[in-house]
């Protein structure tokens, strides 16, 4: 069904029908001081000039780098079918008309997404998606509070710091969030401290939910079954934060007793993008179906016995339950959920296993190369395709590696400035698109930097050119 903006005479007709002279009158109830005023936007520019300026800005992006950055967002190869199919105009809105059932195609796409993700995560119910992994994790925590009627949640400090920030925002209204420390040293260093978890569960207010990640922020594998067992013994629900591609080779949340799973769906066919849009995955057991926020689509038969898709359990939602809805922050990411569905369907179960396994193999190759270059792993425990390395003056080394065309992951001090143990560490990852050549380039550059050798002149010059100018774009001359 086509969608188009309102033309001026559409607006006129609506205003006449409402008996008002301008759209502004509709906002008369909002006090003047609460309205956005004086947006500081530049004047319009001719399209060609604007396009030249944007191209010049885009040219400052470095696309020449060998990237080892993950930290929650991962590069993968995407079958061209994904982006091609997304170009169809029918998909360009997440919204369905009232009645939504008239949009059978949109409902089917959501149903397929929910079914595919349910299979991957091995839980019964999947929502039609949320803003991103952090928002989905926060909704999972709120679900635990509603289901248990308790008001305290424990989150592992090995969960992504941005996710913990979002949790703090959601919990600002009076719910309590406590962090479970990470083991400092020994074989389990960098994973959730189980003894501390037991203490936190035993002391203080009863706990609604325990949140841990698999793999965790440091790329390490957590003892998920054990964390779940401790949570359940205290009457709390267990929330697992997952990276979806890893589920092709790691045990899924449903197999180790998670009640709720949340995660970032970006690795499923969505390109890394600064600030998103991304895709929040949220799934739960059937027992929690009335607590899961957002849309659910079910399959049924119509009066003629034909297959039909319907919005189901809508009564939990904000258009009906208003302030008592399961959530009032549940606009879904239908286009990106569709991208994930097409990605999973085209890659297939065997393909997804190859993606995850090849990433792990590349990461093992990377570990060996970096250790030989003088940067051993920070933690001893098992990982999948991301790990931390020990590098003195990590931030400075990271900068020098950039000058040599290597994006050496994330300086952990930038993510966790208050953790002295992470001051000299980089978090690096590899996926199936990482090449041996890139790994060798990283290792050679790292060896040079650690040895204090200056970068080769030509390389530095090329790097500087790319950042300052806009090769191929005559913007300087034109303006």
């Amino acid at each position: 069904m086509p969608y188009g903006p309102h033309a001026p005479d559409d607006r006129e007709r609506m205003l006449t029908a409402l008996g008002i002279a301008s759209v502004d009158e509709l906002f008369a109830d909002i006090p003047q001081e609460l309205r956005a005023s004086g947006l500081d936007l530049p004047e319009p520019e001719p399209e060609l000039e604007l396009s030249a300026r944007l191209l010049a800005l885009a040219a400052r992006n470095r696309t020449d780098l060998a990237s080892f950055l993950g930290a929650g967002v991962y590069r993968h190869w995407t079958p061209p079918a994904v982006d091609q199919l997304l170009l169809r105009g029918e998909w360009y809105t997440a919204y369905t008309p009232y009645q939504p059932e008239i949009s059978q195609g949109t409902l089917q796409s959501i149903y397929e997404y929910e079914s595919l993700v349910a299979e991957l995560i091995d839980l019964d119910v999947v929502s039609a998606s949320h803003y991103d992994g952090a928002a989905a994790t926060a909704e999972a925590a709120l679900m635990a509070c509603r289901a248990t009627r308790r008001e305290r949640v424990l989150v592992s400090r090995a969960i992504h710091p941005h996710y913990r920030g979002t949790l703090r925002t959601y919990f600002g209204g009076g719910l309590r969030l406590d962090e479970i420390p990470v083991v400092a040293d020994g074989p389990d260093a960098g994973t959730t401290d189980l003894a501390a978890l037991e203490r936190l569960l035993a002391d203080g207010e009863p706990v609604a939910g325990v949140i841990a990640g698999q793999p965790n922020f440091y790329g390490l594998l957590e003892p998920m079954a054990e964390i779940g067992r401790l949570a359940h013994a205290a009457g709390a629900l267990f929330v697992s934060v997952v990276e979806p591609v890893s589920l092709a080779v790691l045990a899924p949340p449903g197999s180790y007793g998670a009640d709720i799973a949340a995660g970032e769906g970006q690795p499923l066919g969505i390109a890394p993008q600064y600030g998103g849009p991304y895709l929040g995955l949220l799934a739960s057991t059937d027992a929690l179906v009335r607590q899961i926020p957002g849309r659910l689509v079910g399959m049924t038969t119509d009066l003629d016995g034909k297959r039909a898709y319907v919005m189901t359990l809508r009564a939990r939602e904000q258009d009906i339950r208003r302030d008592k809805a399961a959530s009032n922050i549940c606009t879904n990411q239908a286009l990106l959920a569709l991208a994930a569905s097409i990605y999973i369907a085209t890659i297939g179960p065997h393909g997804l296993r190859d993606v995850a396994a090849l990433g792990a193999a590349r990461a093992a190759e990377l570990e060996t190369a970096l250790a030989r270059a003088g940067a051993p792993r920070l933690h001893p425990g098992p990982y999948l395709n991301e790990f931390a390395i020990r590098v003195p003056n990590a931030r400075a080394v990271h900068r020098r590696l950039l000058d040599r065309g290597v994006l050496a992951g994330l300086a952990l001090a930038d993510a966790e400035p208050d953790e002295p143990a992470l001051a000299d560490a980089l978090l690096v990852c590899a996926t199936e698109v990482t090449t041996t050549e890139e790994i060798e380039r990283f290792a050679a550059a790292l060896e040079d930097v650690l040895a204090g050798r200056p970068p080769i002149g030509v390389e530095a010059g090329a790097g500087a050119d790319r950042r300052d100018g806009a090769p191929g774009v005559p913007s300087g001359a034109a303006r």
Binding site: R290, R316, I320, R321, K324
Partner: protein, 126 residues
């Protein structure tokens, strides 16, 4: 005419006093307004309810509504049959469709509720 041995709230719950306990459900009028009931969320046994406080949620095909306790007291049991057969609330609202039993904290609260005649008058107004 609604059953005369029960007391009623303006929110369409009924209460039947049984010794020092009270049985609570929703009225036939309420079930007609809600339509087919598909889910009833009941409180845990042992939870203390206050008069007019919410004790659960009833979900029909067209709405989700809070349930308000007519009296205060501690929940002694819930109607577990409703988990598998929520339609009992529609078919037998004053019998098998009951929701919770309470240990009455303050029996005089019952006297403040509507009697059958007053409730009949309320629903006649619409």
């Amino acid at each position: 005419m609604v059953p005369t041995d029960l007391r009623y709230t303006k929110d369409h719950e009924w209460v039947r006093v049984d010794g020092d306990e009270a049985v609570v459900g929703i009225t036939d009028y309420a079930t007609n307004q809600l339509g087919d009931i598909v889910f009833v969320e009941l409180p845990d046994v042992g939870r203390t309810l206050s008069q007019a406080g919410t004790f659960g949620v009833v979900e029909s095909v067209k709405a989700v509504s809070d349930l308000f306790s007519p009296v205060s007291g501690e929940v002694t049991s819930g109607n577990d049959a409703l988990a598998a057969a929520p339609e009992l609330v529609n078919s037998d609202p004053y019998g098998d469709g009951w929701m919770i039993r309470l240990k009455l904290a303050n029996p005089t609260e019952v006297d403040e509720l509507l009697d059958a005649a007053a409730y009949d008058a309320l629903i006649a107004e619409g």
